[in-house]
Amino acid sequence: MNEERLRILNLLAAGKISAEEADRLLDALGAPRAGDTASPGGSAAPGSPRYLRVVVESDKPDQTGKVNVRVPMNLLRAGVRLAALLPAGVHEQINGALREKGVDFDVSRIKPENLEEIVEHLGELTVDVEGDRGERVRVYCE
């Protein structure tokens, strides 16, 4: 057990922080919890990101709310595997729809065997977009 994790648990035991705060702090440390089991077959390599985080916040909290979404990377892995099962005709329809939106991308090129490489590179990804009305969108892995 590492020192930071032990300190959080001691604070919890001493009643200085609530169980929810401890949960949040342990999440921030990326510590594995009892309910989080690595999935067989789709397990993450040590050090690889576990979650994709999408945060939308604003400089003007009285006008815009805040959104904070945490998606397990294993869910992305499962989604890509599922997408690989789509028939070829469906891929073409998706590509066509993406092209209509100005995204020239071939979804059939995403292969399950390239998945770990994609996830590994996602770990280095940080998207930071600021809007005209002071809203800020951040997408990153943790």
Partner: protein, 94 residues
């Protein structure tokens, strides 16, 4: 073993007066299984006859894995301060 989210933790409102609810999803899964069995039989037949041959086994397994991997998903929504009747909402799947 892989299993779907068993509990959904829902919190409405922020501290100190948050309303917290633990939703037993395992009961929903059991109910869905019973309700979906006839649909599953129809879906199997439909997919077998579909012109674009979906591989039903791998597709069903992939869908199951996707549902299972939703465990750990957390969604937190905080309304703008100017909306007095709106409340914070947090949903997390365990």
């Amino acid at each position: 073993m892989r299993y779907p989210p068993m509990l959904a933790r829902v919190a409405v409102g922020g501290p100190p007066r948050a309303f917290r609810l633990w939703v037993p999803l395992f009961l929903v899964w059991a109910l869905l299984l019973v309700l979906l069995l006839p649909l599953l039989a129809v879906a199997t037949l439909a997919l077998a006859l579909a012109p674009r041959r979906w591989r039903f086994g791998p597709a069903a397994r992939g869908a199951w894995v996707t549902v299972c991997e939703t465990r750990g998903t957390t969604i937190e929504l905080s309304p703008a301060h100017g909306q007095p009747h709106a409340r914070d909402l947090t949903i997390s799947l365990h």
